[in-house]
Amino acid sequence: MEMKNASAGTLESGDIMVQIAPREEAGLHIELTSSVAAQFGNQIKKVITETLEGLGIDKADVKAVDKGALDCTIRARVTAAAVRATGKDVWK
């Protein structure tokens, strides 16, 4: 899928900042920094992966800075970043 750099979200408490960039190699590479990494790091990565795969994205560099966002927030921010990166509107 054609892709450019894009981001969504903020660094506010309860939010997550998601940056998506094109990647040469196959697969999703997720770099996560989280205030709740010890307890929820795996779960957050799982939600990011599932959201991107659901949008048909299987090749991207993802950088996420999480400040304790809930899963619904993570899905919303990842989706918004993906739409901006691909130009493909999934909400229509």
Binding site: A38, Q39, F40, N42, A69, L70
Partner: protein, 473 residues
């Protein structure tokens, strides 16, 4: 013959007979603005002391320089009510060979009075002191540089330590009365530029909230109090330092005026909110172990009905006369509360020490009605959990838990649950609150604890209540 006790810090330390391995003590009335601990321990390090036990009433972010003194072997043991900031983080990661001993304020007072916690030399900061050692947390001259109000946590140290050094930033003419610490208990007086930054007293745990969720929680807590059966003329009350518990005072005030109810006393850490109610005639006496802001410190300096008490008189379990035994209602906050009503206020849900026990278990156990106010979630961190990370206040002393998703009442207090239901409040099972939290955030992975004990939590009766293990990154 009157002989001045004023000398340099180094002379005072030499005169005290302090030796390697002994116990030194400090109070935390300047909270985030304290300068005495770093000053004294820095001097002790310079003089070559090793292997000291630092017994403070509490420690905060400002005490990060202790990390180097621990690494260099100057301090090898710590007793305190709380730890925050970088020092807490390092200790949680295993900085010290010996675990930190945590006690409540009442527990510390009892341990000092019974001799279980023996203090060799106490270094006690004071905002005014005369040359013989009569000391106060109140300013007494135009040259005054600081104000901390009550010296309640320093009073057991002054009374029971073998040797007492008062450190002041305003040496005033004899007699410095009314006094908190008596010259009869003091061996030396040291004058320094500053004992503490008073503007930072209301830092740390205390915040005045405009957060709508805190205000909702405060309204609910006030409704619990008003309908609990304990809200009647002559009642007594204590509030913690959480935003919601401070905001609750505002709503209780309105109801007191409306119903013509007056309180006999307010206890504990006294805030500007309580001073206001007292000055309006709604609270008869303020019993102050710690002045939580400048308004409270100024009030204790001028108002006879605003009285200082020691931590023993405040919250000791050993003394039938301690004030907590006469306390009707206490509002407290929590980092975590579990389905058995156990509360943790010391260790974050990341396993890192980040708080203080304070008077939490003392007031919860001895009050007639204890109310914990906390949101269901803080970000993704659950506050109502299946089991607390660290046990600080056993659930048998906790009566009501107020969250924005409903109010849980300890099954041991069915009469309170009935009264709240009759008043139309949303009373829920605490298991349902924990399940609700879990349904929103998912199930957290287990914390990466190691096998080294970094902290021991003592209960207020002097028994080990829980152990805190190191965190492995």
């Amino acid at each position: 013959m009157r002989t001045s006790k004023v000398m340099s810090l180094e002379e005072a330390i030499r005169k005290s007979g302090l030796k390697d391995g002994m116990t030194i003590s400090f109070h935390h009335h300047f909270r985030g603005g304290d300068k005495v601990v770093n000053l004294v321990v820095g001097k002790l390090a310079e003089m070559g002391f090793k292997n000291l036990h630092l017994a403070a009433s509490s420690l905060s972010d400002v005490h990060a320089p202790l990390i180097d003194h621990i690494k260099n072997g100057v301090i090898t043991k710590i007793s305190t009510s709380g730890l925050r900031g970088e020092l807490a983080n390092e200790i949680s990661h295993g900085l010290m060979a010996e675990p930190v001993v945590f006690r409540s304020h009442g527990g510390r007072g009892s341990a000092i009075a019974s001799g279980e916690l023996h203090i060799d030399v106490a270094f006690l900061g004071a905002s005014s002191c005369d040359e013989l050692g009569n000391a106060s947390g109140c300013p007494r001259s135009e040259n005054a540089k600081s104000i901390c109000g009550s010296l309640g946590y320093a009073l057991p140290d002054a009374r029971y330590a073998d040797h007492v050094v008062v450190i002041t930033d305003d040496l005033v003419a004899y007699p410095n009365v009314p006094k908190s610490i008596s010259a009869c208990d003091v061996e030396s007086v040291v004058v320094v530029d500053s004992v503490g930054d008073s503007s930072k007293i209301s830092s740390g745990a205390i915040r005045d909230s405009k957060n709508p969720r805190d205000i909702l929680l405060a309204q609910q807590a006030a409704k619990v109090i008003i309908n609990s059966g304990y809200f009647k003329d002559g009642f007594s009350i204590q509030t913690g330092t959480g935003g919601a518990s401070l905001a609750a005072v505002k709503f209780i005030r309105e109801s007191m005026i409306e119903k013509g109810i007056k309180a006999s006393f307010a206890l504990g850490g006294i805030t500007a909110h309580m001073v206001k109610l007292h000055e309006e005639g709604l609270i008869g006496r303020l019993i102050d172990v710690q002045s939580f802001d400048k308004v409270a410190a100024e009030s204790i300096a001028r108002d006879q009905m605003h009285q200082e008490v020691s931590s023993v008189e405040y919250a000791s379990a050993d003394h039938a006369g301690s004030a907590v035994h006469a306390l009707d209602i206490v509002i407290l906050s929590a980092l975590e509360v579990d389905v058995n009503f156990n509360v943790n206020v010391l260790v974050g849900s990341d396993g890192i020490i980040r708080g203080a026990i304070g008077g939490h278990p003392d007031t919860a156990e001895d009050s007639a009605l204890s109310i914990i106010v906390c949101p269901l979630l803080r970000g993704r961190i659950p506050c109502v959990v299946p089991k607390v990370t660290t046990l600080i206040t056993p659930g048998k002393g906790v009566d009501v838990v107020v969250t924005e998703y409903g109010i849980a009442v300890n099954p041991a207090r069915p009469e309170i649950a009935e009264r709240l239901k009759e008043a139309g409040l949303k009373v829920v099972d605490i298991h349902d609150l924990a399940a609700k939290a879990s349904s929103i955030i998912g199930t957290p992975d287990a914390l990466p604890f190691g096998d080294k004990v970094v902290g021991i939590v003592m209960d207020r009766h002097g028994k080990v209540l829980d152990k805190i293990y190191n965190i492995v990154d």
